[in-house]
Amino acid sequence: MVPVPPADPALPPLPPPTPPWWRDRRVVPWVVQAVVGLLVLLLIAFLLGNLVRNLTAAGLLLSWRWLQQPAGFDISESVIPFNAQLPYWRALAAGLVNTIRAVLVGLVGATLMGTLVGMASFSHNGLLRRLARVYVEVVRNIPLLLQLVFWYFVVFLTLPNGVAAIQLPGVVLAKSGLYIAGLGEGLRWMGPTLVNGVWQAPVRLSVEFGALITGLIVYSGAFIAEVVRGGIAAVPKGQWEAASSLGLSWFATLRRIVLPQSLRVIVPGLNTQYISLAKNSSLAVAVGYTDLYSVAETTLNQTGRAVEVILVLLAAYLTLDLLISALMNGLNHLVQIRER
């Protein structure tokens, strides 16, 4: 054992190994973040304070009592029961349900459309491949609003009516709407029938709804097709060649080998497209479909509560989009490669 020499009392004690706090890597990031956070909070406080101050000056402080007042207007198609005596919040709820209905149908339709077209752009059939390209390039370069107006005024409103309507087995397409066979009264199977010149059927969709979802599906389908095409292209060529050497057909290769691997590239891109579709559904007002935005607009006009109504709108669309995003992130987690 070597004895430890006693500390030399003549030497000064060693300086602490830590630098001053403004050069300390453990402190500086926290300070910077705190300052930035504080600035953001200040900005929000300023904007909110400004809003409240100006609204108070105009005698229009935020109030939510109008939500309970009778709406006084009717809604042409509503999944949940609604009439003009019910309060504004019921009208907004009916609008929200209509929006969700259009978004759900739009999402399913656009996904099918996009997947088929995305797959078609890898087809061995040159005509199919070029058709897919033309569709994508034409559709995604024309504004959606224009396309909706086209579908509604040029396609759906020029449909024949009454006896002249387009009649297929179980389905009738007329200017007054799309009539589909289903279970009618007494759980009997009922096809569309013409009663006094007006079509009747268990399931009726308005042409406004038809024009909206057609527009959304065709438009978002083009973007989704590009996402799907990118996803398929990301799968190494060797996978195709290996599958082909095993004797798998083009379609079987795509379905069993390529698509499952491309999903992890496709899903994040799909998320963006789904969110856009949900937001784009607010253009429904252009084709007379009573969605949340349309109801909110009427409400805003009748009550004059612009700030409150816009806040409701913002919250509703934000929630809807965050919900879609959360679901898609869950799906993304599922399709990731599992590390073993």
Partner: protein, 353 residues
């Protein structure tokens, strides 16, 4: 601390502005809007823009119509030139926000005066005198054979969203227990396009608007107005509650047009009348009205001869009506309720006293 300082700064700037204003014209009227308009050199007027007879763009690219003439009269009275107007086309959903935010100075856009729009707790508008007493009507194709509201049972009806029309329709149909489907569109163009496209068997709006729009249909005679009046629709120019002095100025410019008709002053004879007033000191009413004596203009923050300028620009109320919507125009509307009170109508100017 920061808030207090900005507020103090704002208050002192405002106070300085007010003091400077007072010093400028010796105790005259202070209207933020009036000085903004004179400073800018033009009036920004919110109009419908696509409604024949009321506000629309003519073949030469200029705005025409009854609502447009109100804008011109105000511009002439305030700025001395009826052409110093910038028009903004507003749809029914945008109009109040555009006025409230100050994007337009004046809303002359076939807007119905109602309690909730006037009230400070509602839209907070300040209405000028009504320039057209209207009522809501229903237009149907002649071929449909529909004669009354009952004939519309179960049928789709096109209507512009966010209008009083939409609410009146709901009320009248509910009263009579008639089921119907309202199809709502954001603009009147879309509403009428859907009606002409055959999506609705009827379109409802103010009777004057239906008459105006019908003139631009491919076959105007194939459509007929049902003999029902579903509501009172006093179409009225509006400003905001925020500037009472500006609201007063607009109010009395419009009254001036009505009083001019009652006093027999027209676009053609206004100069002669002015000479007459200047020559005859005993014609006190006429002298005050045309600004030869008294200080009516100054009280409102306007030039003394604002009535002369307005009438010279667009004529009196009767001339405006006849030119744009009267029997000689394409709309062929009867004066009806819009006659002078002496003829049994509702057009009545309070005294210029």
């Amino acid at each position: 601390m920061f808030w207090n300082r900005t507020r103090t700064l704002g208050a002192s700037l405002l106070a300085a502005g007010l003091l400077a204003g007072c010093a400028g014209d010796g105790g005259g009227v202070q209207s933020q809007k009036l000085s903004t308009i004179t400073g800018r050199g033009k009036l920004i007027c919110g109009v419908e823009g696509k409604l024949p007879g009321f506000s629309f763009v003519g073949p030469d690219g200029k705005y025409l119509g009854l609502d447009v003439d109100v804008c011109k009269a105000v511009a002439a009275a305030v700025l001395g030139d009826p052409e110093k107007v910038e028009y903004r086309d507003l749809n029914s959903s945008e109009r109040f926000a555009a006025l409230a935010s100050g994007e337009v100075d004046l809303l002359s856009r076939n807007t119905t005066m109602t309690l909730s729009r006037d009230a400070a707790g509602g839209n907070g508008l300040s209405f000028a005198p009504t320039t057209f007493y209207d009522g809501q009507g229903v237009l149907v194709p002649v071929a449909s054979g529909i004669k009354d509201l009952k004939g519309l049972a179960g049928k789709p009806i096109c209507v512009e969203s966010g209008t009083t029309t939409e609410l009146n329709l709901a009320d009248r149909m509910r009263e009579q227990n008639i089921p119907y489907t309202p199809l709502k569109f954001q603009t009147s163009d879309q509403t009428f396009a859907a009606y002409l496209g055959g999506r609705c068997v009827a379109v409802t709006s103010d009777r004057s608007q239906l008459a105006g729009k019908r003139t631009s249909f491919p076959k105007p005679d194939a459509h007929t107005l049902l003999p029902v009046v579903m509501s009172k629709e006093p179409l009225t120019p509006a400003t905001t509650n925020g500037d009472p002095a500006w609201a007063d100025a607009v109010r009395w410019i419009v009254y001036g047009l009505m009083q001019a008709e009652e006093s027999g002053i027209t676009q053609a004879n206004v100069d002669a009348k002015l000479d007459e007033a200047k020559a005859n000191t005993n014609q006190a009413d006429l002298r005050r009205f045309l600004g030869v004596e008294g200080d009516f203009g100054k009280l409102l923050g306007l030039p003394p001869d604002f009535v002369v300028k307005a009438v010279k620009a667009v004529g009196n109320y009767g001339e405006i009506f006849d030119r744009n919507v009267g029997p000689a125009s394409a709309l062929k509307l009867d004066r009806g309720l819009n006659r002078q009170w002496k003829d049994g109508g509702l057009i009545y100017s309070p005294p210029f006293r």
